[in-house]
Subunit: 196 residues, 4 copies
DNA sequence: GATGAATGAGAGTTCATTCAT
DNA sequence: TATGAATGAACTCTCATTCAT
């Protein structure tokens, strides 16, 4: 449909521009131009720059939560759950690089200022991750002397850094590299970097 | 001296304002007001907003490099080197929270756009960290089947997430918590989260 | 008929919105929304915001002129004529508060800028009023040493202020208050405020 | 001084532009251009269009109140007080036509929307006028069967209409005409329009 | 060194109006 | 008749930067 098409084109354009320039330096005119619409239309559909940005961010968070909830509720093997989480981020990097780039460079960081909203978003994600870690502890798979919250930080931190470096370097992610990243993170997180 | 005093006051004010509002939303007038000087003076000493910001960032990077080089060159025990790196970040959080907050929320982020500069800064840091990891492998302490670069990502990612969460939550960092954070990171990184 | 219905709904909505926000701040979208029609339709029936506004204003002026002509031509007692004029304004305030509010706050005002149109409208009204005052002088009821034009200003000024205050204060107008207003204006205008 | 000069030039320009186009249609760029300054400077001194406008309006109100208080407190003859009030308006028309034009066309009318502020401004003025009328009644000069508030409306309404017509017609006000206006208003207000 | 008046490009946003359906 | 997507000129306001004193 014509309507939906344009709306989608605007969102795609926004993803591209926000990634390239960052929220602060992105101009609505850029977004409109890239979407091939007048900027009046951007305001017609989305009320403001902030709303447009939040829309994108909200969608990301809800997808992330959905994935996390799926894993949390699933009956799968604990180890697989962690792998799925890593792969969710890596897959998003491959399929929607703009989105993950915005997440890494705009959402994580700017959260510092939008404290209220941003912080709670993160806490919710960490909380879900924590639940999974706790489950691993209960199953006797993970050590109990490290708080699940701390396990979450280390696990997520590893993923974020891998993603950030790729984003920064605009590196392509082959199947091979993807596999190695998963192995590295899982290897160290589960068994440690120390020789046996 | 009077000069130096004012210069320092301006830098302190800049640290505060950049942290509170982020680079994009920080106004030179805010910085001048907080430093109790006219904003003409800010331009007198530092040529522009960007120069002022870069000055702060440069200082941070060179301190970080200095520390990394110290550890790299030192004859200390490998394990201690990692602990020192973690503690460097935690200490900075305690002593200069504004600086670390800017690093976490502004430097990493803006790197995405100032690619050339930002990326190479990070790569240099990672490279130093990599050297240390390589040394660990050579000493037979670290597994050789995981690339030192990946070990670096995981190790640094853990630190960054701990710091980020504290920054986001404006959490105070007691001796006790500091110790637990070090233990968590070192525990998982070296021995893994899995039960023996 | 359906047509007329919608047209009327649009005009009613316009009256309400113009009163609430004033001409400059009234948006066509507001009017359309309040009338429950698309704003395309507002343009279909009325060509533009200005035309719509003028239509309302024109209607008011022609009603006012009609009333004034009626009084002028009537064989009634002079005193009654003045009372009728006052009551015309008060009645309009009761029955169509939006209309009188727009008149008081928008028409008089915008006259200043649309000089040509606005001024002549007023002059025509004053002229009719003047004719009646002149008649009063000819009948020996009014003093002849005050120009009819001046009598008109004083008489109309009194009415306008009473109306304006009510509009500003959104005061309800009871029969009782209406009567007192008429008495006050007529009393002072005819006999003066001074004690005998 | 240089500072004051520019500030004053901006205010003068604002008076002119607000009068010509009305608040809503006045552009800050117009004001700046007329004042021969960049529009950045307008914002440097006055924070916004609204602030600039309010400043002008506030000044007018405080001058009006000052005059009214002077008359209220004075030991002068009652009749002279009323004449002074009329003359204050007429003098302002002669000396600062822009100011009185803005008052008549923007303040009185737009008060309808800025209810809170605008209404109370008017009520304060009416209240002072009422006090004077009450004094007239106590001295046995004015009839007691008409509420002082109503006397105020009629008296002020007469003045406002004279002023409005002059503003609308951009009429010059000679000494002669000024005198006749005072006589007309005083004559009718005190003794009525009716023949003895 | 120190001030802050002065500048003006640039960005977000609004909204009357048009027009294809 | 009726809709609302689409346009873009116009306007307010911001703020880094310059420069005379």
């Amino acid at each position: 449909m014509a309507k939906t098409d344009k709306q989608e084109m605007i969102i795609d354009a926004a993803l591209e521009v926000f990634r390239q320039k960052g929220y602060a330096n992105a101009r609505m005119a850029d977004i409109a131009r890239r979407a091939n619409v007048s900027y009046g239309l951007v305001y017609h559909y989305f009320g403001s720059k902030e709303v447009l940005f939040d829309l994108i961010v909200e969608k990301w968070w809800s997808e992330l939560y959905a994935m996390m909830n799926r894993e949390k509720e699933s009956n799968g093997v604990f180890r697989e759950k962690l792998i799925h989480i890593i792969q969710f981020f890596l897959d998003t990097y491959v399929q929607r690089p703009n989105l993950i780039s915005i997440f890494v460079s705009e959402v994580c960081r700017s959260s510092v200022y939008h404290t209220q909203e941003g912080l709670s978003r993160f806490l919710k994600f960490f909380s879900l991750c924590e639940d999974i870690m706790l489950e691993g502890q209960k199953q006797g798979i993970l050590k109990k002397d490290i708080p699940p919250r701390h396990l979450t930080y280390i696990f997520y931190g590893a993923i974020e850094t891998f993603i950030s470096v790729m984003v920064l370097g605009k590196e392509p992610l082959t199947k091979k590299r993807q596999e190695r990243a998963v192995n590295a993170i899982m290897g160290v997180f589960m068994d440690g970097a120390k020789t046996a």
